[in-house]
């Protein structure tokens, strides 16, 4: 399986690795999500832009939690839903599970794809060749040395 990402220009002019996805709402609609690929993130977290859309999917009244980062702890809620990606052959991939949603706008402008998802793939961040990719069988990568 190959899911292609891209190097995305963000609001500060910095180019960051990203993957295009969709998230399923409680009414079954799919909404667009741009994920930052973050090898340092333990969990996948949606930005606060999705809070009002995803709150109906909160797991329980005690679904509020905290996530820790360089700024300290921030508030979040935990939801259960599906994330959708598109493979290189145009067929969908669905990732079901529990994910977090930031509760504050300034926590992150982008949603973050964490290792709870990406540990299922080989991840390529290749800025010089402008490649961002998620690989799983039968796709694979090789590292070679030019002779």
């Amino acid at each position: 399986m190959l899911i292609n990402g891209e190097w995305l220009e963000c609001d500060d002019g910095v180019i960051r690795p990203s993957v295009k996805g969709m998230v399923r709402l409680a009414d079954g609609r799919w909404v667009e999500v741009t994920f930052l690929l973050d090898a340092g993130a333990d969990r996948t977290v949606f930005s606060a832009r999705y809070l009002h859309l995803l709150t109906p999917l909160a797991m329980s009244e005690s679904a509020q939690g905290h996530l820790a980062g360089v700024g300290g702890a921030v508030n979040s809620i935990t939801i259960e839903t599906a994330i959708g990606f598109v493979r290189d052959d145009a067929r969908p991939v669905r990732v079901r599970g529990s994910f977090h949603v930031f509760a504050e706008n300034e926590s992150s402008d982008l949603s973050v794809l964490g290792r709870d998802v990406t540990n299922n793939f080989g991840i390529i961040y290749d800025y010089p060749n402008q490649i961002v990719a998620l690989l799983s069988s039968p796709h694979y990568y090789e590292i070679k040395k030019a002779s």
Binding site: D11, E32, R49, Y50, H52, V117
Partner: protein, 98 residues
Amino acid sequence: MSSPVIIEEMPYDPEFERAFAKAERNRTWFSEHVKELEVFKKYRGRYVAAAGGELFVADTAEEIDRLVRDKYPDEVPHVRYILREKCDRIYAYKRRVA
């Protein structure tokens, strides 16, 4: 520790493909117009959305979704929150050591 995610390769889904294609179209439009519209200069601390060949601006996520839905109910907008300040972003865990 939460349960592991479940990854499923799905058969062709026309509804999902249509939604993804609409989102892609709006994302592309945004990328192509972001500089000319000076989005990252003019709208810091606000939400912006690209849908139907237009840029929408609002103060909240609920409002941006409502604006787009009122004019283009079938669209899948590309929505961004523009952080108030530009700064380098580092993902690390801050903890007290003493």
